[in-house]
Symmetry: C5
Subunit: 354 residues, 5 copies
């Protein structure tokens, strides 16, 4: 299956805005969870389908409603209707092959991001789409399947320390983006460590395994770059848009976020260059080794081929070969052979082949 460009084929030919789920996780649990918090307290709730209207009526608090599982299109339709979302917005949420973006929509800001996961076993980066709609009174988040990087945020909400319960939903949205980007950082770091380890392994012994690792890492770096690059653009948009939903006190945090994502991107570029350089190095080393092998072969051949020829000459059965009957003929043979070999070794030494 194409990892770099998820199949949208099943969606082709339908009307725009018609919901088409793209993904393979249609067996995942469907869940809706609410965190309703204010400075004074916090209320958590979970539903297997959708909450009732009254569950969300609480004008004085901040609501964070998280939807796990996007494959039940009927449920998504009801969410669209319940929260009066534009059809295209909902289509973007369920189209999990989408390019990350942040855009202003009527009455809110719409975020499409990617959560990454690094599988240690097959050394691959996998991505999950994470969408978020920030409104004045509610933050809606959508995940393909349960399990995310937001547990520390939940803990902070429960603990109620710091500014998190007082700083508004825009700050909460920032925290979530921050968690996602921090997670990018940790993944880039893990891959980066492998790259830097590889660098040393390469100089010690340029085995084909090292090359395969370089290629594999390069593939992951290309994948990361493809996934992370549009996020820069998206966050930059956020630093510039003057939407009242982003309050002034949150702006420095957004700027900080922008600096982080740029740093991730630059690290990726640097690692990419390092991998290219490693492949060049590998090829140069292989070239060196080929040279060495050829040198040895050539030295042996060049020394022994003439000697074998001389032995061959005196192995012929001509009636009259005077040298064969010399008293010291055999010794002379060895003398000639050793002299020849010595001369050739001397030449090789002068050519710096030895």
């Amino acid at each position: 299956m194409a990892r770099y460009f998820k199949s949208r084929t099943q969606g082709l030919g339908r009307k725009p805005g018609e919901l088409v789920f793209i993904g393979s996780h249609d067996k995942e649990e469907i869940r809706t969870s609410l965190i309703d918090y204010s400075e004074k307290g916090i209320r958590e709730d979970v539903w297997s389908d959708l909450p009732a209207d009254k569950d969300l009526e609480n004008p004085s608090t901040s609501l964070w409603l998280n939807f796990d599982g996007l494959h039940d299109l009927n449920r998504m339709d009801r969410i669209e209707e319940r929260f009066e979302l534009h059809p295209l917005v909902m289509a973007d949420i369920v189209n999990t092959a989408l390019r990350p973006k942040i855009e202003e929509i009527e009455g809110g800001i719409f975020f499409v991001l990617k959560m990454l996961r690094y599988s240690e076993s097959d050394k691959k980066v996998m991505s999950e789409q994470f969408s978020m709609i920030l409104r004045d009174d509610i933050l809606l988040t959508f995940q393909e399947y349960p399990g995310d990087v937001f547990d520390p945020i939940r803990e902070r909400l429960r603990a109620g320390k710091g500014r998190i319960r007082t700083a508004g939903l825009d700050y909460l949205a920032y925290c979530m983006m921050d968690s996602i980007i921090d997670n990018y950082i940790s993944i880039v770091e893990r891959i980066g460590e492998q790259i830097e380890n590889n660098e040393e392994a390469l100089l010690v012994n340029a085995t084909p395994e090292v090359m395969e690792r370089i290629i594999m890492l390069k593939r992951e770096i290309i994948y990361l770059r493809k996934t992370i690059r549009p996020v820069i653009e998206a966050v930059q948009f956020l630093t510039k848009c003057e939407n009242p939903l982003i309050r002034e006190s949150t702006e420095p945090f957004i700027n900080d976020l922008f600096a982080n994502i740029r740093q991730v991107s630059e690290a990726i570029d640097t690692y990419r260059e390092m991998l290219s350089e490693q492949l060049d190095t590998y090829n140069s080393l292989i070239g060196n080794r080929l040279n060495d092998i050829m040198k040895i072969l050539t030295i042996f051949s060049v020394i022994f081929i003439p000697l074998t020829f001389i032995a061959g000459i005196y192995g012929t059965n001509f009636d009259y070969i005077p040298e064969l009957h010399f008293r010291y003929g055999y010794l002379m043979l060895w003398g000639i052979i050793l002299a020849l070999a010595g001369a050739m070794l001397f030449v090789f030494k002068r050519k710096k082949w030895l």
Copy 2:
């Protein structure tokens, strides 16, 4: 024939705006088809030449008039006159080698796009020019030959569900561009899948066939990039032009389109990088293999050449070679030979060649 840059030579030296058909499909059927729809109903009609004036007199409905076949220049002249098109516009329509573009013309918007077709048999992407003129009351579309990717749109028009019959001609034009770009996506996906499959085939066994496939895919990717890149620019123009023909309700759809085409373009760039990387990998693997072959050759030569030399020495016919008359001379020969071979194997083992 040059696929990357279709021949315009036959058009050179003529006056600007003079119609010159560039293409080889002059045997294709000529047809004009009309879909005349409103919220209330839909009327379809087909003519082998052109419709009469009265066929198009229906001020309260939306008209979509599609022309198949561009090679009958006399007919094109009559179309130019009938719809009062600027000579350059009509020249662009019949010049099927044109670069995709969208531009505002008097009383309308003029679209030149490319429909792509992926031929599974010769694994090649072919393109067909698709032009479109959006006016207040009519949408004119021009195709090189019959058969297109718009059947689902026609179905939706006939079914009359959703907004398609009420949302105006600009929405219909959007739907057509959307179909074309969705088609790009599905082609990029098919090529992408081959590229990703190739990646694994490469690591399993770097055969020349894998290399030929890489080269072939690279050519297709270059072709796709060349064809699709100008479309980005064209759609971007559409998102920015404030032409009253594009109503506000259609704008989010255009923005969506722009995001899609950019995603396609980024996928193409990523695949291109992957192919470059694959060729590098292929060359490195070939280098490795050459190394292995050389190693084996060298080991064999270096072991046996001296042994053959020794055998040669004792095959000479000198009168006096004392070793030949030793009691265990032959055994000693084997002893020396085995010792030499063993010593060399030991050296190779230490050099990690075995």
Copy 3:
């Protein structure tokens, strides 16, 4: 002689604006030709030097005055004076090494372009400088030597069909630029066809001749790119400058021109990539072939070297070699030899070398 950067050395150290002819065609015929046309008729005239003042007095018609041959600096001085040109403008006209550009000058627009010529015999693109000054009442054009791509324009002027005799001098200037760019297209097409043919030749048989052709084509493409790239910038300037000399009715034509030149430039870039890719392919194929050669050499050597060694052993003249006296000694020798060879062939088969 440096084709990529024509010698200006002879001009160094002179005063700015001093006329210095750079070029080697100082034996070419000098000629001045006039086409004086209006809606009603056309008058053509030719002088070996310059026309008299009265020849150009015709306020109600459009004048196109073409100068062939730039090397007679005395004549150029008189032209400068006669038409009151800025010294730098005339210096640019005779400096045939100039970079293409279009700029507004006092009372006119000054065009410096390159006409290209593809020599089929030595497969080289050659360029000639073409300068043009557009004024309200006259169009002055300057060519290095007689012979150009404008004959179809002259024909159209004589025929008087279409808008050419009524549409003003700006339209005439457009027609000339259009002819020049159409000529670029036809040259790029011819080179492109060779490139695409080469692509197939390469996969059939990667001979050194194919490589030499790739290198030669690359050189021409680099040359074309260098020559054509500044023209894009120049034409873009024309689409943006709001000079009253370019009338509104001519603007769509200029835009068309801009689209054409951009298309040429993109085709060049695509061909350049294809050539790079072809060279990579060539090198990969050469690598493959080297591998194949080495495989054959290795298989033969590895099979026969041990066999020759064994034969050598039994060719020695030791007094006591028991095997030599075995009844079926010779048959056993062949048995061993065939078994060894068979075993090695089997190993090679398993290694997929055969």
Copy 4:
């Protein structure tokens, strides 16, 4: 440990603005040093923890307060509180993995830069984070560990010559940036000298050691580029921001700084290109050498293999080989052998292999 992207993992999941020290130098001495100067005099002081409030009460003088050691987070918390810093600012100061930047903060300008150190022994560039907060009345600087490049500035402050004691804190901040960038220059110069020396070593003898040095230098250059590039952006920001803290008299110095840092960056780019070129050269030279080796091997093999074959023929024991009994058979053998060898040498000479 990843040098290119320092670990921030320990900081993930904490609340934004919570202090997390990233670095390994938690055993370094903690120190706070003050330089309190005015036109009239200078006072220096050092504390092992923090100064008391009264130590800093001196409205008529300029204060430079330098903190060495960032790992005692409790102390950093107290500094944050004492100088009313924004939590994100303090978080940036202790996050020593940060990308260099300059930004305006409330009541001041915040600088994050990198001091570089070149370790001659392991030929590596190491970096230390240097942060600085410029306020109206005080300059706060933060270093990871004691020892910096500012001693000449301290000397100039003590000496009191020139404008340093009168030109304000913005000038002092400039002096510090200037010292840091001058240090970059001296490091780039040292690496550059190695690169240029390597260039000559390469042409004299392309040993694998030269290649390893190229790779090592490339790594350092990549590291330098990654570290220095964001500084350009940061200094450019400073040249453009119209913060009243940067007085007009200091502006030319900032512009000068900007020119310097750009020059460093261009030198790095040039060196990087030179290294790429050197690796290409190395590979070409290795290719040449392989060619030479192969030539020698081939010449020897091609000359002696047929000769050995001929000798082998006359070593066979056939009953009837007429040549063996010719009177001058043996001489003829040598004659044939020499003729053959001579002919082949002649061919090689003509092929320019000798």
Copy 5:
């Protein structure tokens, strides 16, 4: 010594604006020369140190004061004081490692440029810093050592023809920049000619000398690019700054200058590409040749190795080898040998190796 990045180490740690001479030419003659001209006449003077005040009192004329030799810092200090230069300006003048730039300073425009010199003997481009301060009444120029490219300007001043004596100091400054850039052109041309000659030499015979020349030329091109690129930016600044010192009549000349320097830069880029392409070609040719060598080696080995083996077989001393006693045994041996060799030649022919 680092040519690409001249040592500034000796200047580090000093106060900004303190003069530090960087360069090795401290033995050069120190000289100050004046050209004082007006429409009516010209006065020239030379001093070994500095002119007296009265020497420069001539309000109605234009003064060009040229200083040769920058290493006597005491003298530079006096110049700084005498002409009231900003300390940073004088620091830039004596820092001969500076990046070219043009900037507006108080009461003038400050130019830092590089004069290039091509040493034919060691085929290297060397640079000398040239600084210039344009003021209303005087033009100050500074050179590292005597000898420059301005003699034609002096001649024109003396001759007094053309506009040079009347067009003001800004025109004189333009003339000097023009001379410098013309000199760039002539150097690029000389290197370019070598590159184009090399191209042909390469295809005739790809010797290692050709490769070394490619590498050497690449180094010079990198150096030229590094030196010339910032000049583009500097001249562009001049075309845009609206300083009253640059009069309207001089502006077209500046624009011309800008076109020239861009043309130089493009030529450099083109040559750089050509050199890269030449190195690729060289490597491909070397690969071809390796292939040819291997082919010959393989053909010889593959033909003779089996033949030698057969000869070896019949050289064994087994008691009973029936073939040896056949009547035509020896002839049959030759028959088999020739048949085998013929078969293999046939195979090679079919494989197109011969």
